[in-house]
């Protein structure tokens, strides 16, 4: 099992002034594994994700990517190591087409003399290939994101996160803002990523999400590791108890 370790956090703490957001938190993630992270509001889930993605620097503790100790100075660093974050507010530009959003900041270009111009053809082709690989259905890669449903937007955000062969994807409440019928599609997409060998960390309040896609679940409580279990060895009621700080 531990041969497959792709990401590990060892006794990570994060302080904001006098507030302790995380205290000696451990986390590990294997290749192709979906890990659910649960906890009440303020339990430190989002802070932990931000530490893993390099947005926050941990006050104490260390991070390991592929068993190598790393220091992340910005999300760019974690991206370069193959970790992508799907933000809760989606971080898409509604006025731009799907393809432009997926490749925003990393647009394929072609050189004409001394100038670099956008390669519209290549972007469209790469977008269509990538959407097909993830089995995401949209009318056209040129459709503007603002014309999409919430579930489709989430799918585009995930497609964006995985367009550059990400090995690890972090998702913060990927189904929170979705209509019921769209939740299933996003969960299918997560299972699809798993099949493609991508490791996923999902933060969610919804037990349905956790028990549909996760292999393992860990609970944070007041900024500390509270409980952790393979999914098959636990139950919804038990996990809900963990969120509220109750353990048998």
């Amino acid at each position: 099992m531990s041969d497959n370790l792709v990401l590990e956090a060892k006794s990570v703490s994060k302080f904001f002034g006098t507030i302790t957001a995380l205290q000696n938190v451990d986390l590990h993630l294997n290749k192709g594994e979906v890990l659910g992270v649960v906890g009440d509001n303020g339990a430190g889930k989002s802070t932990l994700m931000k530490v893993l993605s390099g947005l926050y620097k941990p006050s104490e503790g260390s991070l390991f990517f592929d068993k190598e100790k790393v220091t992340l100075n910005s999300p760019r660093d974690s991206q370069n190591l193959g970790l992508e974050m799907v933000y809760q507010d989606l971080a898409l530009a509604g006025n731009l087409p799907i393809g432009d959003n997926i490749f925003l900041g990393r647009e394929p270009t072609r050189k004409v003399g001394p100038f670099n111009f956008l390669d519209h053809k290549k972007r469209k082709q790469l977008t269509e290939e990538h959407l097909a690989k993830l089995k995401i259905n949209v009318k056209s890669a040129d459709q503007k994101v603002e014309e999409l449903s919430g579930g489709q937007r989430q799918a585009v955000a995930i497609a964006r996160a995985t367009a550059f062969n990400a090995k690890i994807v972090l998702m913060d409440e990927p189904t929170a803002a979705l209509a019921v019928k769209e939740v299933g599609k996003v969960l299918d997409l997560i299972l699809n990523l798993k099949k493609l060998g991508v490791s996923v960390i999902v933060i969610s309040h919804r037990m349905d999400d956790i028990f549909t896609v996760c292999d393992r679940v860990m609970a944070l409580f007041q900024g500390t590791n509270f409980a952790e279990s393979e999914l098959k060895n636990t139950s919804r009621d038990e996990v809900i108890g963990w969120i509220m700080g109750k353990k048998d």
Partner: protein, 343 residues
């Protein structure tokens, strides 16, 4: 019913009118220009479409279009630049002083765009590094500052008389003897060519380069642009600098056209520029609009003013009409968006 089936049904239900919407969205404004031209031609058959009048319109809009193009880019980022009218005046004054100081014409020619560039950069740095709450405030401040400096360096009086090489940019004529015979009166204004070239360059810039794409992305969702690793502040500085640079080019064209630098140059022209951009279909909330739309917006303002002048409509009525058209154009845009997002 699965997804594909539903989509098929939707498509069949779409009326011809609905299917024409994207066409109007893209070319409706050009249609409006054609209608304006047709109406004015019917009202003033001898004058309006005469070579002299058409070139006159182009000469008039050429310097204004530089302001509109710059302000357009700023508006795409969901910002605003109120200072372009003052930048044009300051760059014009700088040019005049350089000219009076006896500098060679090629240096004089560079002075106006260079001043515009620096003014724009000053705006951009103020908005980003000084963390001004809104570009409105920074550029409102520089609207006063730049015009004030312009009057300080010139003593508040007009300066006239520039070298022929400067005048040719705003007032030059490219003779068309080859087409109309020796000594023909038909010509193409140099400023028209310059305007087309600059619009083409900026069309390429905005649609076919990464920075152009990022400018639209920042207008759509600055948070998304930041999350994508785009240095939003740096791009904003580029945008405001280019806006100032274009205003400087506008100053250069105006210098040639009027052969004079005067304290009221470009007064309120920032508002005309904003109006042209909005009429051209750009959204004040950022992320939306095209270079072609700006060109169309500038032409509509220019044709309207020219037409009303030809018909001897008073300046006061012109103000009322232009204001109404701004409101009407935006209202049509509101209706259009309602139709486009209907479900």
């Amino acid at each position: 019913m699965d997804h594909g089936e539903k989509r098929l049904m939707d498509k069949n239900q779409e009326s011809l009118f609905v299917r024409l919407i994207p066409f109007f969205e893209r070319y409706g404004i050009l249609l409006l220009i054609l209608i304006m031209i047709a109406v004015l031609h019917l009202l003033q058959p001898d004058v309006f479409l005469s070579w002299r009048n058409v070139t006159n319109v182009f000469k008039q809009v050429s310097w204004q279009s530089m302001l509109a193009l710059g302000v357009f880019m700023v508006i795409v980022t969901a910002g605003i630049d109120l200072s372009v009218g003052s930048i044009i005046m300051l760059s014009l004054m700088g040019l005049a002083i350089a000219s009076k100081a006896g500098m060679p014409w090629y240096v004089v020619m560079l002075v106006a765009p260079a001043i515009g560039f620096l003014c724009g950069m000053f705006n951009g740095i103020g908005i980003t590094l000084l963390r001004m709450p809104h570009p409105f405030i920074m550029t409102l401040g520089t609207l006063y500052i730049f015009r004030g400096i312009g009057n300080l360096i010139s003593g508040g009086v007009p300066i006239t008389g520039f070298a022929e090489q400067i005048r040719v940019i705003g007032n030059g004529k490219i003779k068309l003897d080859a087409f109309f015979g020796e000594g023909a009166r038909e010509y193409i204004p140099t400023s028209l060519i310059l305007m087309i070239v600059i619009f083409f360059i900026f069309w390429i810039f905005l649609n076919h380069t990464r920075i152009g794409k990022w400018i639209y992305a920042i207008g759509g969702n600055p948070g998304a642009a930041r999350a994508a690793g785009i240095n939003v502040d740096r791009i904003l500085i580029v945008v405001y600098t280019l806006c100032g640079f274009l205003a400087g080019i506008g100053g250069l064209i105006l210098a040639g056209r009027t052969n004079s630098a005067y304290p009221n140059a470009g007064l309120q022209s920032e508002l005309d520029a904003i109006a042209a951009v909005i009429i051209g279909g750009a959204s004040f909330f950022g992320g939306r609009g095209t270079v072609l739309g700006v060109f169309a917006g500038v032409m509509i303002m220019g044709i309207l003013r020219n037409g009303l002048n030809l018909m001897n409509v008073s300046v006061f009525w012109q103000q009322v009409l232009i204001g109404s058209i701004i409101i009407l154009a935006v209202y049509i845009d509101v209706l259009r968006r309602q139709l486009a997002t209907r479900t």
